[in-house]
């Protein structure tokens, strides 16, 4: 596995999967529109390309937000609440239970979103205090928290094996 950065739509060609990372979803959304990546990622997704969205990536994956309109990929049937847990002083770490995982996973929630509701085709993988914080569809995974800020690689393995369909060598 070799990780590469994608800033242009052409760079999506031949990738085994893509990760839409954390950040400011409004900023990322604007840059996705101006770079042509919004349509690029959508067509990558609809051709079956595996996508994992963390935090802002989860916001962008949703089909609608509870807040003001902003550019979204809209590839997941879900209603998202941005900054669902409040401003940075309320950002936190907490262990969450994840469907199919052997033991809790330390969720690092940074100005994190949550799914208020999901529609058909979306499977909830984890909830925190009644809020959906991880979910998946056929070829998409979303997490409201940041597995990449921990040393626990179970979500990375889950994405590669269960979503991308790559066999462990």
């Amino acid at each position: 596995m070799e990780p590469v950065e994608v800033r242009e739509a052409e760079e999506l060609k031949g990738l085994a999967g893509i990760i839409v990372p954390g950040g400011e979803s409004t900023t990322i959304g604007k840059m996705l529109v101006s770079s042509g990546l919004l349509d690029g990622i959508r067509s990558y997704f609809y051709r079956g390309g595996p996508v994992w969205g963390t935090c802002a990536g989860m916001v962008l994956a949703a089909s609608a937000t509870t807040g003001p309109r902003q550019p979204l990929l809209g590839v997941m049937n879900a209603l998202v609440e941005r900054n669902g847990f409040g401003p940075q002083v309320h950002s936190f770490e907490k262990d969450v239970e994840v469907e199919g995982f052997d033991g809790p996973f330390t969720g690092v929630f940074i100005r994190a979103p949550f799914f208020e509701d999901v529609g058909p085709g979306v499977e909830v993988l984890s909830e925190l205090d009644g809020r959906i914080v991880a979910a998946r569809g056929e070829n998409i995974l979303v997490t409201a928290f940041h597995p990449e800020l921990t040393d626990d690689t179970r979500f990375h393995e889950y994405f590669l094996e269960e979503v991308c369909g790559i066999e462990r060598s």
Partner: protein, 298 residues
Amino acid sequence: MAENGRLTGTFRVKSGMAQMLKGGVIMDVVDAEQARISEEAGAVAVMALERVPADIRADGGVARMSDPEMISSIQEAVSIPVMAKARIGHFVEAQVLEALEVDYIDESEVLTPADEKHHIDKAAFEVPFVCGATNLGEALRRIGEGAAMIRSKGEAGTGNVVEAVRHMRSIIGGIRRLGVLEEDELMSEAKELQAPYELVRWVAENGRLPVVLFTAGGIATPSDAALMMQLGADGVFVGSGIFKSGDPASRALAIVKATTHFKDAKAVAEASRGLGEAMVGREMGSLSEGERLAARGW
């Protein structure tokens, strides 16, 4: 601290927040309208302050934390993170900003220092801090005090990128130097740097700072931003450069684009087209010793 089983204010949560700003531009704003223009242009955060550095320079006097009223109006105006500045060593201004629930505090040399010897004990706060640094030792001292993000200082309010370049090269060069030292040379180097030994060791092993490194102080054009990114910055603070220019909205957007596509000269050229007047710049030789803000901080 723990609230309903949630662990808040951990270093991972504080430094992780800065990780999410990487590759982005943070813009100085003095009112809600400027904050909206910045958000619209694609800023990843705004820095609320009473006067931009160029005006602080021109007006003189003591520069302090902003009016909470103004900070709140900016928080209401945008959904992106709102940062605010506290004076060096003024831990009560920092307590006030934390009570206002700003997303990040900049313990900043742009404001008049409140303490000539001590910086704020930043580890004691739930809210994360960013601090300026001119070299590696200064950066590691601030991280030792709990800073969760570093920015090279540059010389704010001058529209001249030369000091930002000097400080970024100094920090990155310092990191590179640690990488080639032998284990038994690190203690002596820590003494030279006047930095905590454990952090010196960490940097020597990992080849980077343990927190995100932005740049600041004098960035006025899209090319300035791309220059700093190519020199190794993780992102850019732009102060006076945007709202002291002829066409702030266009310049803000152009600097965001140049920061995103910093390796793509065609994209930087495209972003730079027809922006109108940049802010008026100051040559470093024209600044007296007392006017040099980067010298503040210890």
